[in-house]
């Protein structure tokens, strides 16, 4: 083998180390973003004292941060769960978005595609219409539960309809079924809202997404689902690369196309439904983060999936910072911030692609 042959043929061989480096950088970025996220807020201690206080909590480290117990409570009980939840939500939405894009071989697909958003919105609307005052006495808050169940039911309906009308391996029929289910759920939601116009404001603010009320309870609530769905999606990263040559050729290469799609869609939906249930609908993360990641690390899902996971966490933690301080002391909904940053970014991205081609 001549020298250029060796380097060129070796390119797929280098990948394991490069992925490890990317993941290490990503984990460091998540840590930095989370510390920054914990430093900023309308009330509480001076920002620079927070990292010291966090260091102080590490085992075998003792630093005098100068924080009072009350200030530490602000950091630990209000900011920390919010930052952790933002990281989980951002990571899950972008990983689910990347997985959906892989499984449907369509770059414009997002995790809400198969009806998860509309179903969750409908579930939340029903709870608001029943009345938050009457549900406040319930032992379990029905809002996240209804959103979660709504999302799962909507995606299940999409899957059943799409499989019934589509061919054996057709992803396109599934996407179209998702459009139909989304319209249907949205129509019911609009009907309910029209009859209960007093809750429009609450529903609207839920739809725009919120992290402001995050508690450690929310984190504990979503963590099992997020962990399970993350593991399932990451395990499929090589198989998503096989799917890039189309369903027929992937099948001829020995891939169980229908099973892969079912498991990946199931995992992505479970994760999406769980985070939507606690954070509302946060737009754009599932599309723009995977696309930005592709520009940096290339199109292979072996890199896109793990890096999207980490980049999504960084993005949402940082996007949540302006949402806290822009309209201080009021909150700017996180969904507004992500779409406000996301839309121009998306256009710039499309332009960059066009220039390259």
């Amino acid at each position: 083998m001549s020298a250029p042959t060796t380097t060129a043929a070796a390119s797929p061989l280098e990948r394991p180390q490069r992925v490890a480096v990317l993941v290490a950088v990503g984990v460091a970025a998540v840590a930095v973003a989370m510390v920054v996220g914990a430093m900023v807020g309308p009330a509480g201690p001076a920002g620079w004292r927070v990292p010291l206080a966090l260091l102080d909590r590490l085992p075998w480290v003792s630093v005098d941060s100068g924080l009072t117990a009350r200030q530490w409570d602000v950091v630990w009980m209000i900011r920390a769960p919010r930052v952790v939840l933002a990281a989980l939500v951002g990571a899950t939405l972008s990983l689910a978005g990347a997985s959906y894009q892989g499984v449907f071989r369509n770059p414009l697909v997002d995790p809400y595609l198969l009806g998860a958003a509309a179903g969750a919105g409908l579930g939340a609307t029903v709870v608001f219409a029943v009345g938050r005052s009457s549900t406040s006495a319930w032992p379990v808050d029905p809002l996240p539960l209804a959103a979660f169940v709504g999302a799962l039911v909507a995606v299940a309906a999409t899957y059943v309809v799409g499989a019934a009308f589509g061919g054996a391996r057709s992803g396109a029929s599934l996407v179209l079924a998702g459009v139909a289910v989304t319209s249907f759920a949205t129509a019911i939601q609009a009907f309910i809202l029209q009859r209960n116009s007093d809750v429009v404001r609450q529903v609207y603010s839920w739809i725009l997404g919120r992290l402001s009320t995050a508690t450690w309870g929310d984190v504990r609530l979503v963590l099992p689902y997020v962990a399970a769905s993350t593991v399932a999606m990451l395990l499929h990263r090589r198989l998503l690369d096989v799917l890039r040559v189309g369903e027929d050729e992937a099948a001829a290469l020995g891939a169980h196309v229908r099973r892969i799609r079912l498991v990946v869609v199931l995992a992505a939906t479970l994760g999406t439904a769980a985070v939507v249930a606690v954070s509302g609908l946060i737009a754009f993360v599932g599309i723009i983060v995977p696309h930005a990641v592709r520009l940096v690390v290339g199109p292979s899902y072996r890199r896109v999936l793990p890096v999207s996971l980490l980049a999504g966490a960084v993005f949402l933690v940082l996007a949540d910072v302006p949402s806290r301080v822009l309209a201080n002391p009021a909150e700017t909904p996180i969904g507004v911030v992500t779409a406000f940053l996301g839309a121009p970014f998306f256009l710039a991205l499309l332009r960059a692609r066009e220039v390259r081609q």
């Binding site: 083998m1 001549s2 250029p4 042959t5 380097t7 060129a8 043929a9 390119s11 797929p12 061989l13 394991p16 054996a168 395990l235 499929h236 090589r238 198989l239 690369d241 096989v242 890039r244 040559v245 189309g246 027929d248 050729e249 099948a251 001829a252 290469l253 020995g254 891939a255 169980h256 290339g298 199109p299 292979s300 072996r302």
Partner: protein, 264 residues
Amino acid sequence: MTTLGFCDLGVRYGDTEAVRGFNDLLHAGEWLCLIGPNGAGKSSVLRAAAGLVRYSGSVAVDQVEIPAASPKWRSRRIAYVPQSPVMPVDMRVGEYVLLGRNPWVAHFSGESAADRAAVRSVIEALELGALAGRRVGELSGGERQRMVIARALAQEAPVLLLDEPTSALDVGHQQHALELVDRLRRERGLTVVSAMHDLTLAGLYAERLVLMHQGVRVAAGSASEVLVPEVLAEFYGASVRVHTDPDGTVVVVPVRSRSGTVPG
């Protein structure tokens, strides 16, 4: 060395019967070429053997019937090159060829060093080394064809199915591609089934031709037995002259009708 058998193969698309009662047995290392007009069912036979369409009857590799629900079992024995492969334009050529190892990689793990070594040797054998780091979208038609064949070879399957392997290539690249398949068949003992439109090339490379018409095999044999003007007129509706060169090569040439109508 591996045999490939078709027993009473049938393929339906809805109400249309694309293939009916197709039987054949390829001996190990044989090259069989399916010919016939458009819609005769050639591709359907290949797609059935590749497990891409439902079929009745059976396909057997070394006299073992292919289990219906095991794409992995099948893909370790049968490699399939479609007529117009999907080109993931931003994928690297090396990554593309590496996909051919999928049948041998456990579901959720990555390729082993042995898999990568196998891919390197295929890339070297097909002289793709200089292209391995390039993007698929940057390749010419002939280079893409070699890359797709490389992926099929990386499967290390003893049976190779080629659907119209040369239809998109110029005469030089057609020859290169078929010579390559022929060389690999000899070196590696591959059993090859191809579907082809160019009758002269089909007769030149395949040891046996099977002529299909409306889903049924209507003639089979060597080039000089099948490529007969009367037969081609009947099933292709074509008016052709057939020359036999002194070396035995059968050349099929269309005849221009001076009156502007095609007889048949």
